[in-house]
């Protein structure tokens, strides 16, 4: 992403050229839709959420202080938007307590493969309590960059690290059997 292009397009939009916003949408639609998808695991809803995030960004363009990168600003807006949307209508998920048994069933099956395991682990992350889930989603979305995740969430890095550690601990507690099988498979 070219930061200068973003800045030029924002200046044009603020000067009244709405079509410049279309270039911003084209540049950022992939990241914003993918981030929304990681929050809700529903493609259609992810697009609705990303559209709302773009609208909020459009309304708040004047508020972008150019000392922060446009990417930081737009991710913070999108994250905030997705968090409030999911608080309003929560994602339909299995309760976390049931995830372990579902994963155990998968692990017992003779036909499970890496794809099943990956999907199951992602479902387990989705079923985490919101404050751990959002930290984990942002951390992996930003390719394990704690400070980027902290900026998107508007939280101190220490809080993000603590929640990340707690989220991992919960996953470890909920998935021991499945992950035991997983380890055995890897050793062989």
């Amino acid at each position: 992403m070219d930061a200068r292009e973003d800045q030029e397009d924002v200046d044009r939009v603020l000067a009244g050229d709405i079509s410049a916003f279309e270039r911003i949408v084209h540049r950022w639609q992939g990241p914003l839709v993918n981030l929304a998808y990681r929050f809700c695991r529903d493609r259609s809803r992810a697009e609705d959420m990303a559209q709302e995030a773009f609208l909020r960004a459009y309304r708040g363009l004047k508020g972008w202080r150019k000392d922060a990168a446009f990417s930081t600003w737009i991710f913070a807006i999108a994250t905030n938007c997705y968090r409030s949307e999911l608080r309003r209508i929560p994602e339909g998920n299995l309760p976390l307590d049931n995830i372990g048994s579902v994963l155990d069933l998968i692990a017992e099956s003779t036909e499970w493969n890496d794809g099943d395991r990956d999907r199951a682990i992602r479902r387990a992350v989705s079923a985490l309590p919101v404050k751990y889930k959002e930290v984990m989603v942002l951390f992996y979305f930003h390719e394990m960059d704690v400070s980027a995740a902290a900026r998107s969430l508007g939280l101190p890095e220490g809080t993000v690290k603590a929640r990340l550690s707690r989220g991992r601990k919960i996953l470890r507690e909920k998935l021991p059997r499945f992950l035991g099988e997983f380890r055995l498979e890897e050793v062989q």
């Binding site: 279309e22 084209h26 839709v33 993918n34 697009e47 609208l55 992602r122 992996y140 394990m144 992950l179």
Partner: protein, 125 residues
């Protein structure tokens, strides 16, 4: 679970591609937002006389209600609970005369209605 196993699974997530009409749909929403008339501001100028009149009426009522108990208890050096209640009872009676209970109920219902609306709208109002 070793942390790197979890990292590997969660980092290796397939990207989804936005549908072909997504950008167009966003821009339609943005254009509609840009061409929409600005929201009607609250008519403070028109409401001001009414609000001022309400404020004055409330102040006068309170002053009137407090005047007699204060005068009566002014001689007492340390007011006891009975004296305090003697002062409050006429105030409540007077408030009842003006239908304060109904006013309070109305205000509570309005607050509950606003809160419910806010909640249903997801804080987007």
């Amino acid at each position: 679970m070793k942390p790197d196993e979890l990292d590997r699974v969660l980092l290796r997530e397939a990207e989804i591609v936005p549908s072909s009409g997504f950008a167009g749909s966003v821009m339609a929403a943005v254009r509609s937002e840009a061409t929409a008339p600005p929201p009607i501001p609250f008519p403070w100028l028109r409401a001001l006389p009414g609000l001022a009149a309400c404020g004055v009426a409330i102040a006068l009522t309170l002053m009137d209600a407090f005047r007699s108990p204060v005068r009566e208890s002014a001689s007492a050096a340390t007011p006891t609970l009975t004296q305090w209640l003697d002062g409050v009872v006429p105030l409540l009676e007077r408030a009842q005369m003006f239908g304060a209970g109904w006013v309070l109920l109305g205000l509570l219902l309005t607050a509950a209605g606003l809160k419910l609306t806010w909640r249903l709208a997801g804080g987007r109002v």
